[in-house]
Symmetry: C2
Subunit: 326 residues, 2 copies
């Protein structure tokens, strides 16, 4: 399959990574750039942890644990047990294999490598050929404004298990929070065929990417269609706090809310069959729907959904003759 | 058993830790200070590793692997395997449990705690009551001057497996390489009953401690007897490169060489039965020998050797009446 140009996938963790896996199986390495959220990144025990990047790396390398839904298959937890014995902080689950990623990343960052360079090196070591780029080499941090006060993402997500009621989400941008070179280069390509917003949490995984200076304006300007795959199915998130968060923010969780959230960007939205009754309403809001089986259980589901999403985007692309004339 | 005063044990890794274990079983926490070599400490993968401190902690806590002779019992190596997969450095064996010690130590040091404070916290977490103090909170690094150039200790010991031919050993002292507060306080006690040089490598484990400013002068000045337990048995080291190193430095490995090495300090030297023929020669050099079974295979051996060493030191103590008169 060819996309007739370059495809950018904006991606968070688990759900997004599954679609990215499918895209990577269908497109040549030169046809796809996977841009990953780093708003969840944090320093823990002195280690630089990049949860979404790691999930994408592990998923594409076929190393992720499918049953547990996160982390590495065959993971062991002896480090964490020993850390607990020493009185250390054990609320963030760091597996023994996973830890190697964090230790080696931290070492390389301390040696002056960029997060992009470290991620590329890891991808290469794991045999991955498609570019996986952090959204930024700088520092953007997702903060959950909750009834218990402002919480850095992992304190909300992992330590507090998403229990605090959210009142808002904001992104703390450092001065160096600019698009990574790989992301920028992909956005500036003149052969862009599609931008795909993977089925990741719109508020917590995709919004941080859109919050980087210049990204939203660039996405609004490009001719290539922007297509999202809804992470909300039947009013619920398959995984993670998306639906709970939407409700707390006063939004009825559903595919219409996803479309509304991405207003001004989306040409199309891939929705699950259980949400097919919303197709007309989406169309009424100027967003073309594609009804699909969007729960990805195995590799075949991932590849099929990726194929349908790519075909959907291709169908939404502006008429090439018109494009040439413009 | 009581030592009739305070006992200081100077200690390196495996062999020394075994005797320290015996001493800790016999003496009350207030009667013993275990001072541990930190000349082997190094930064690896961005982590602060203190091999001898950890060996002492693990050994006293009953957590060390007796069969392998180092590290933790029940250790797993998944971190190291995953690190290798990422292209990281795997020449230093970091077990999954052991790693918790290094990560947590590094975190605490970065937060401003001293190595003494971190070590005390770990000892407490592991249920150890006897003070285990690093020789210094500063930086002294053991360098092996080898035919392949100068090698930091772990590069010689772990990476090069002690294969390079040594020409000398030197200690790089930073300005802050002064006795730790715990070591200094122990040395200055007026109830010192004995200083025991544990059966650790004289050149690589005990000499770094003696190289700290003021330590040797203080040891030469104290009245309490200094007693060593020879790490050389029948011309060989039970473990590690002591005998190889001595030969390369032009010294015939043996108990006489150990006594000679510690000249000016030793009142007595505990030697194994296989070396009993050297007893007279030792006495001729002004060092009282004690012939013992000095191979420590189980806890009973450790405790027995510690008991015999303490009794030996007590017998070598200056006559208290004479001491009072002086």
């Amino acid at each position: 399959m060819t996309a007739g140009g370059h495809v950018i996938a904006l991606c968070g963790g688990v759900g997004g990574a599954k679609l990215a896996f499918g895209l990577a199986r269908l497109l040549a390495p030169g046809e796809l750039t996977i841009v990953v959220n780093t708003g969840d990144d944090f320093e823990h025990l002195g280690l630089s942890v990049s949860p979404d990047i790691d999930t994408v790396l592990y998923t594409l390398a076929g190393l992720s644990d499918r049953k547990r839904g996160w982390g590495l298959a065959g993971e062991t937890w002896n480090f964490l047990a020993a850390l607990g014995r020493l009185g250390g902080e054990t609320w963030f689950a760091l597996g023994d294999h996973d830890l190697a990623t964090h230790v080696e990343r931290t070492r390389r960052l301390a040696a002056g490598e960029s997060l992009s360079a470290v991620t590329a090196a890891f991808a290469q070591a794991l045999g991955l050929l498609h570019p996986i780029v952090p959204m930024t080499d700088g520092r953007l941090r997702t903060i959950i404004e909750s009834e218990e006060g402002d919480l850095p993402f992992q304190h909300y997500f992992a330590r507090a298990r998403c229990e605090p009621v959210a009142r808002g989400v904001r992104f703390e941008l450092a001065e160096d929070a600019v698009q990574s070179a790989g992301f920028r280069a992909a956005l500036e390509r003149d052969d862009l065929a599609a931008v795909i917003l993977c089925p990741s949490n719109p508020y917590l995984s995709i919004d941080p990417i859109l919050a980087l200076p210049g990204v939203r304006a660039r996405l609004e300007a490009i001719e290539a269609p922007i297509v999202a795959v809804s992470p909300i199915i039947g009013g619920k998130a398959l995984k993670g706090p998306a639906a709970k968060l939407m409700a707390e923010l006063g939004v009825t969780p559903g595919v219409l809310a996803v479309a509304e959230h991405y207003r001004g960007l989306l040409a199309g939205l891939v929705i699950d069959r259980v949400d097919r009754t919303e197709a007309a309403a989406l169309r009424g809001r100027g967003v073309e729907p594609l009804v699909a089986r969007s729960v990805m259980k195995g590799d075949e589901d991932r590849i099929r959904l990726a194929r349908e999403t790519l075909a959907f985007a291709a169908a939404l692309a502006p008429d090439p003759r018109r494009r040439k004339a413009s």
